[in-house]
C-alpha cells in the first residue's frame, strides 16, 4: 500500500531529518487491511533511526504528538484502529512550545 508519511515539529530529526517519506507498506500475510497500529509498528522498525521513545510510548505515539490522517486528527477516525487506504497522507507532528 502506497502512503505518504510526514514528520514535523522536530520528529523528523528521528528519521534522518527527512520530513516527507513516500513509502510502500506491505500488508501482513492473511490480513486484508492496514491499521494505524500496524503502521506505527512499521514506522518504528523502518523509519525511526534514533531515540524511539521520542516517538512512541507503548504501542501508540508518545504524549504531545498529533497524528493526522488526511489532515484530520486520528481521534476522529478511531486512533490505532483507523483503517488506512491507498495513497493516504499520515502526518506526525510534535507540538511546539517555543516562542
Amino acid at each position: 500500500m502506497h502512503l505518504t508519511l510526514e514528520f514535523g515539529g522536530g520528529l523528523e530529526l528521528l528519521c534522518d531529518s527527512v520530513k516527507i517519506h513516500n513509502v510502500d507498506v506491505e500488508l501482513k500475510k492473511g490480513l486484508e487491511k492496514l491499521t494505524m497500529k500496524d503502521l506505527l509498528a512499521w514506522v518504528r522498525t523502518n523509519l525511526i533511526k534514533e531515540r524511539p521513545e521520542m516517538f512512541m510510548k507503548g504501542d501508540t505515539v508518545r504524549p504531545g504528538v498529533l497524528v493526522l490522517v488526511n489532515d484530520c486528527d486520528w481521534e476522529l477516525s478511531g486512533q490505532l484502529e483507523t483503517t488506512l487506504q491507498e495513497k493516504d497522507v499520515v502526518v506526525f507532528i510534535s507540538t511546539l512550545h517555543g516562542g
Binding site: 522536530g10 504531545g64 489532515d71 512550545h97
Partner: protein, 475 residues
Amino acid sequence: MESNGDDAARIVAELETLKSAKSDIDSRIRALEAQLRDLNLQKPAVCANGSCHSGGSAVGSALAHGLSPDMIYRYSRHLLLSSFGVQGQSKLVKSSILVVGAGGLGAPALMYLAASGVGRLGIVDHDVVELNNMHRQVIHTEAFIGQPKVKSAAAACRSINSSIQVVEHQEALRTSNAIEIMSQYDIVVDATDNAPSRYMISDCCVVLGRPLVSGAALGLEGQLTVYNYNGGPCYRCLFPTPPPATACQRCSDNGVLGVVPGIVGCLQALEAIKIASAIGEPLSGRMLLLDALSARVRIVCYQLVKIRGKSIHCEVCGESTKFTKEQFKNFDYENFTQSPLSAAPLKLNLLSEESRISSSEFKEKVTKGEPYVLIDVRPGHHFKIVSLPNAMNIPLSTLEGRLPEISSALKEEEHRRSSESSESPIVGLYVMCRRGNDSQRAVQLLQSMGFPSAKDIVGGLEGWAREVDPDLPTY
C-alpha cells in the same frame, strides 16, 4: 595609543551622561502622556483632537457607533471593509486583550493589536531585553537592551497608538496571580515559550471562560490555534498528558529563524482581532501548521469526540468535570510537566567533584604547559560559531562510536610530549560544551567506556567567557 584610550574613556563617560539624561526625559514624557490621556478620557471624546465640534447633528449621529472623528480617520481603512466596518471597529475599541509574553510571538502580535485599536491592551512579561532577542522580537529597540520587556513593548505600543490604554504587568504569570490578571481581559493571547505556562494559561482561560489564541514557533516551524472558544476544545482536550521534558525544545537551545515567530505572532493578532470584533470564523477546532523551509501551510482539523466541540473526557473542560479556581491555584504546573515555568537553562549536576574542573583551573593547566586533549561535544554547527584552540569536535550524539579517535589523540599527545622530555607525561582528558550539561553526560559515558580520568569543564564555553576570557563570543 594612550590618547586613544583617553578618547574612548571620554566617549564612554559622555555616553553614560547622555543615556541617563535620556532616560530621565523618557520617564518624564511617559508621565506627562499618561496625565494627558487621563485628562482626555474625562472630556467628551470628540474633543480629543482639539477641534471641538459643538454637538452638530452630523456629529451626534456619528457618535452613535461610539467612534470619535479621530478614530474614524485613524481606522478609516478598517471602516472601508464591508465585512468589518464600524461594527467591527466599535467592538474592537471596546475590547480588551492580554498578551502573555513580549518575545518573538508577542512582539508582532502586540504591534498589530495596538495599531488596530484594541481598547485596552495588557502585556505580561518578567524578562529584560537582550541583544540576542533583537533578530526576532521586533517590538524592542537597541535603546531598551537591559530594560524590562514590558516597559519596552508598552512604549512601542504607545508610540504606535497613543489613543489606546496599554497596561504593563511586569511579573511572571503564576497560578497565584493568573486569575487576577487574566480576568481583567476579554481575550488572552499565549505568546509564551514553555509547556507549563501553556497548560496554566489554557486551564485559567477555562476557569475564567476566556477564549485563548495560542501560537508557538521553533526552528523553521510554527503552530497556531484557538482554544476554549465558544465551547470549543481547550489545550488539555488535545494534549491531556504533557510530553516528556526532553521533547520540549527551546529557541535558546535549538534556534529559531526570526521571521517564523513573526508570522505566527501576526496570525495570533489576526485571530484575536477576529474574535474581538466578532467577524469571520476563528481557528477553533483546527490547527494551522507552518513549515517555513518548504513553504507549506497546512490547516488540520482536530475537532474531538465531542459534546459541543469539547472532549468528553477532558479533565479541565470536559462534560462531567469542573476545574475550580481553587484547584487551579493549587495546581503544580512545573511538577505536572516536569519543566520550569521560566525558560531558564537547565543546570545539571551529574558528576563528583573530582570529575570536574573550573575554567580558570583548566586555563592554568594550559598556561603551565601540561599535556591535554580537549573534546568539545557540541553539535558541529555550534562548533563552527566559536571554539577554544586545540579543541576536537566530537558531538555527544556521535561520541560512543568515535572513542578510538580519543584514544589515538591521547596517545599522539603522549608521544609528542615524551619526545620533548625524558619523563612519561600523563595526558589530561577534558570535555566541554556550551553550558556544561552535555559535557557531564559525555564524561559519564567516557568514564564508563574506559576513560576514567575524563573531566568536565564546569559551565562550558559560557563559563570560560565569564571566568577566563570575556572577549570570547557567546550565543
